[in-house]
């Protein structure tokens, strides 16, 4: 059975994703979810970066790192959850199926839409393409066209997807955002490769 993204989408959305009326917590897929406004999610990151204009690359790395850990812990947890076993696991036979199932789940979280990908299993390289990333319009509306890519969460998640499916640990892979709607490109594109070991650099 191939991965059916619509079945996954309807199954996840059909779970009634809202906080428990008593505890106010939303536990599902082995994690605790919350619903935040996109404005909050983006503006806290941009304010953080603006606080460190001379050390922006380090601050950007901290944002990407949070998302890469999130991908590992969250989607790794999801892949071991009862919900995954019941709804998704029957569709998953190969590593590429796992990747497509992750895409299907990621496409219902309000982050924007994964519209394409390429994977080279031998070279362990992966390209992910996203439209309507939640960063893009918000960034342009509030800060103007960006001079550089801005989708830090997606960058970490793209690398995290490969950590999960083709890697052995968190940060096995690294991603760069090569195109970004926030800087006027038609799409956001992320290229992922395995991190080079030290001896590769010698």
């Amino acid at each position: 059975m191939a991965v059916n993204a619509e079945v996954i989408r309807d199954g996840v959305l059909g779970m009634g994703l809202r906080g428990n009326p008593e505890t106010g917590l939303l536990r599902g897929f082995g994690v605790i979810l919350a619903i935040n406004t996109v404005d909050y999610l983006i503006e806290r990151e941009i304010a953080f970066l603006k606080a460190f204009p001379t050390a922006e690359p380090m601050a950007e790395k901290a944002l990407v790192d949070a998302a890469q850990w999130c991908a590992n812990a969250t989607f790794g947890g999801m892949m071991k959850s009862a919900e995954w076993a019941g709804l998704i696991a029957p569709m998953v036979k190969t590593k590429v199926d796992s990747l497509e199932a992750l895409h299907a789940v990621q496409n219902v979280l309000g982050w924007g839409k994964i519209v394409g990908y390429e994977i080279d299993e031998a070279a362990k390289t992966y390209t992910l393409r996203v439209k309507h990333s939640y960063y893009s319009k918000n960034y342009i509306d509030n800060h103007g066209i960006s001079t550089k890519p801005r989708c830090y969460m997606w960058q970490g998640v793209a690398a995290g997807n490969m950590d999960l499916v083709f890697g052995s640990k968190v940060n096995d892979f690294e991603a760069v955002e090569t195109q970004c709607e926030a800087k006027g490109d038609d799409i956001c594109e992320f290229r992922v490769r395995q991190k080079r070991a030290l001896f590769d650099l010698l």
Partner: protein, 188 residues
């Protein structure tokens, strides 16, 4: 459940745009994120900026964006407008449960401020999950900066005041081994 009609009206605004894979509720765009992401954002921002500055950044942006989203949803809402300030805050706390911020109770309430408590504040719950799964340690300072902002915004909306009308401090936090998180909100 108290405030059923307000909660149901809020839930009725939840929409998923499949073409864009985007979510909205109450007229504003929202997204799901997990405790792992939000606690690491918290930790990384505090690590880089320092506890005070990092906490202030998260608190202020939570207050601003929550105030804007609540003002948008309740604009022209006669049922909400008819409630006393305490009732308005209670209704907002039910919406916070929908958003999965955790259940919050009012311990005391007056025109000049309020005290709230929560045995389930979302970020504290997430931090404690990390402690169990990844060996994170108990904290030296409270963690629920975003809840402080959400509650300050709730008070401002309830009293029809602008952003910044109330200040919020978390005086006790489960991430510091307290039995519950306690938030003191005062008029600025």
């Amino acid at each position: 459940m108290a405030y059923d009609s307000i909660v149901n009206r809020y839930l009725g605004t939840l929409g998923f745009d499949a073409d864009r894979s985007r979510l909205a509720i109450g007229g504003v765009e929202v997204a799901f994120h997990c405790d792992k992401f939000n606690t690491r954002i918290l930790k990384n921002i505090e690590d880089v900026m320092g506890y005070e500055d990092g906490g202030r950044l998260l608190r202020e942006w939570a207050e601003k964006t929550t105030h804007e989203s609540l003002a948008k949803f309740f604009k022209g809402d006669s049922e909400f407008a008819a409630l006393a300030p305490r009732g308005r805050v209670e209704a907002i706390l039910e919406l916070f449960k929908v958003l999965a911020y955790g259940a919050v109770s009012i311990k005391s309430f007056g025109d000049g401020g309020a005290v709230f408590s929560s045995p389930y504040s979302y970020l504290a719950e997430g931090w404690l999950e990390n402690k169990k799964a990844w060996g994170w340690t108990l904290r030296q300072g409270p963690a629920c900066h975003d809840m402080c902002g959400h509650l300050a915004a709730a008070m401002s909306i309830a009293f029809g005041k602008p952003i910044g009308a109330f200040t919020a401090v978390e005086t006790s936090c489960r991430t510091m081994d307290a039995p519950e998180c306690v938030f003191e909100i005062k008029g600025a």
